[in-house]
């Protein structure tokens, strides 16, 4: 994994540490392979990506987060499971080949029917199990709905997503089965629902990771499922082809911080389930927000000074964070992260014809 090479020649101790670091590097590689499934305008190169992954060894790690909200970590995006007397809500469904394992994990948490599936966005590592998970559930419906289309109306759980996610998924090539599509969409800034006595709010974060990302906030349990608007294992994947922008991503991180409330020592309180990585809280999001903002601000300033992309890369604007989040391999390299920011900053901040000496101290605004 070349991405972890230090800038300077390591001493003996550093060699030891790099060896210790390998498990994390391998984990990033797994995530990279997972997220790659959803990358790109073609939306779903699922078959290709799945062929490259061996899911046999994947085990579902269930973390109880708060109340009846759980985080289920397998391969691909993290899944959030919320249980109660009315049934089960499943936020993101990992990869299709993992559906049996995911359903088995859910069944250990509740024997109530799965009523809702929510997709935080349209990438394949978050929606792969939609069809199987939805078909394992049932929708509560009555009146004219049942009368018009019969039993089929209640035969599966309903799948919620932002409208932009569905709009991109229907263009998938090869097409997704209709039963896998999130057909219960919304186009507003927020969608609210009460389920199992829990106020659940879904916030659309436009033009961030993609253009169809949502945060899912369980208000009473005090848990936010972020999808890929926050991860603990990699630089933000700005999926430009699907409407993602760095500024929108930072705005989404700030919105997560606005929702979360920690204790008086900046720990715990609202818990955050990331799209990939470990269970987190506000402080973890703050560290990540700071990192992303600082890198964006550096590149923006270099763009304002008229630097070329190569000159910006030579300045190593991510050096301080590369050993934690960077990689030179996989679908989303550190270099690509820098390039997308540079491109978007250049579009938003064309260099002035005469540049003034820049102040040393730079804030984000």
């Amino acid at each position: 994994m070349g991405g972890k090479e230090p800038a300077a020649s390591p001493g003996a101790g550093e060699e030891v540490m790099r060896t210790r670091f390998n498990p994390r590097v391998l984990r990033i590689a797994a995530v990279a392979a997972a997220v790659a499934i959803g990358a790109g305008g073609a939306v779903v190169s699922r078959a290709a990506a799945q062929q490259n992954q061996n899911f046999d060894a994947v085990e579902m790690d269930v973390q109880r987060v708060s109340g009846n909200v759980y985080m289920v970590v397998g391969a691909g995006g993290n899944t959030t499971v919320f249980t109660g007397p009315e049934g089960v809500m499943v936020v993101d469904t990992q990869f299709a080949p993992l559906s049996d394992k995911l359903l088995a994990a859910i069944r250990k948490l509740s024997d109530q029917p799965i009523r809702w599936v929510v997709n935080t966005h349209m990438h394949g590592d978050h929606i792969g199990g939609n069809e199987a998970v939805a078909k394992a559930g049932r929708t509560r419906a009555g009146g004219n709905v049942v009368g018009d289309i019969g039993q089929a109306a209640t035969a599966t759980a309903r799948i919620i997503a932002h409208e932009n996610a569905l709009n991109r998924l229907v263009k998938a090539n090869p097409p997704l089965p209709s039963a896998a599509l999130p057909t219960d969409t919304f186009f507003t800034e927020r969608r609210d629902m009460l389920f199992n006595g829990e106020a659940i709010q879904m916030f659309h974060e436009p033009a961030a990771h993609t253009d169809g990302d949502i945060l899912v906030h369980f208000r009473h349990a005090d848990v936010v499922a972020t999808g890929d608007l926050f991860t603990t294992v990699m630089y933000p994947f700005i999926d430009e082809a699907n409407g993602g922008t760095i500024d929108g991503y930072i705005k989404a991180l700030n919105n997560i911080i606005a929702i979360t409330v920690p204790s008086n020592v900046n720990e715990g309180g609202t818990m955050v389930i990331p799209g990939h990585g470990r269970l987190s809280d506000e402080q973890d999001v703050i560290e990540y927000r700071d990192m992303v903002t600082i890198v964006r601000d550096r590149i923006r300033e270099y763009v304002k000074r008229g630097m070329t992309l190569d000159q910006v890369k030579a300045k190593k604007p991510t050096l301080d964070f590369d050993r934690r989040y960077g990689t030179d391999e996989g679908f989303w390299t550190t270099s690509m992260f820098i390039e997308v920011i540079y491109k978007q900053m250049l579009a938003a901040n064309p260099p002035a014809k005469t540049t003034k000496p820049a102040a040393a101290r730079k804030g984000s605004k």
Binding site: M17, R20, E282
Partner: protein, 300 residues
């Protein structure tokens, strides 16, 4: 390898020296109220470290760039005002320490040793019952997850699952991937604490530190143990999402520390080489070639 060996040797010597006078009991009773002594690394601990002083820290280039970009205004952000020092750093502060033992009421086996730091009202639990550390998906905390074991009269504590914090609070970070090992020994009423931080993200070699605490014969006033933080908007012009930072290489106080203390830039940059004795020879050589300028005459 030579430096790693030196580092390990230093640790062995330090632990051996502090453990020499320990009583013979199998499990030393650490319970009580402990107050720190600050003489070791005093300038860093009580006045606080000066900006751009990384001398003696085995940091790598990533840590150096992080610190060179770190604007102290970061801690004016409401969301960052109440952040806590992580376990590997908190014992260096002006903290009082209360230690007690939790036992199984039926067997009297030690379940955990608890440590309460007055700074930031932090309670550590050092599990002594042999339980494993959590998996990689568990949350990280300021105090981390600790397990302890006795090696003779020395308590050895292993901590993982730490949040990101400080190696030195002038911007040198410790990552959330760090592992922390402590060696705690008692010499009468003095508690010696020696620790090793291994951080694959920001350290090129392990960081070894030590602190001393003296047993307090009586408890401290209640308020001594409290730490209350309420975040407020400190800067009216600050807008949500601001993250104050300097551009790499453009620290506005560049040159200040080395001029004030007459030390070369290559020393204050830190790195493993700056913590070994042979680095002193380099400093002497530099000082011989660069005598301290005479102070400017006072104007009358």
């Amino acid at each position: 390898m030579r430096r790693a060996g030196l580092c390990a040797a230093a640790l062995v010597v330090a632990v051996a020296l502090t453990a020499g006078a320990a009583p013979a009991a199998a499990q030393v009773e650490l319970s009580g109220v402990w107050q720190p002594r600050y003489h070791e690394d005093f300038p860093e601990r009580i006045p606080g470290p000066e900006l751009r002083d990384y001398l003696g820290l085995p940091i790598n280039d990533a840590a150096r760039q992080f610190a060179e970009s770190w604007d102290p205004s970061r801690i004016t952000l409401p969301e960052e005002q109440c952040r806590v020092h992580v376990a590997p750093y908190i014992l260096r502060g002006p903290t009082n320490l209360r230690v007690w033992v939790e036992k199984d009421p039926k067997t009297q086996d030690v379940i955990a040793i608890k440590m309460y730091s007055s700074t930031y009202e932090q309670t550590r639990t050092i599990w002594m019952d042999g339980r494993p550390h959590p998996g990689p998906n568990a949350p990280h905390t300021w105090m981390g997850f600790s397990t302890g074991r006795w090696d003779g009269d020395m308590l050895i504590v292993d901590t993982t699952h730490l949040k990101q914090g400080w190696i030195r609070r002038n911007g040198i970070p410790m990552s959330d991937q760090a592992a922390y090992t402590e060696y705690i020994v008692l010499n009468g009423d003095m508690l010696s604490h020696i620790s090793v931080v291994v951080d694959p993200v920001f350290l090129a070699e392990p960081l070894v530190k030590s602190e001393e605490f003296i047993r307090s014969p009586r408890d401290l006033p209640a308020q001594t143990w409290l730490w209350v933080c309420e975040a407020v908007q400190e800067i009216a012009t600050q807008t949500e999402g601001d993250v104050p930072a300097y551009l790499p290489g453009e620290h506005p106080f560049k040159g200040e520390f080395e001029t004030k203390h007459h030390v070369p830039e290559f020393a204050i940059r830190g790195g493993p080489e700056t913590m070994y004795p042979d680095f002193q020879a380099r400093l002497r050589e530099w000082a011989a070639k660069n005598p301290r300028p005479a102070p400017a005459p006072e104007k009358k």
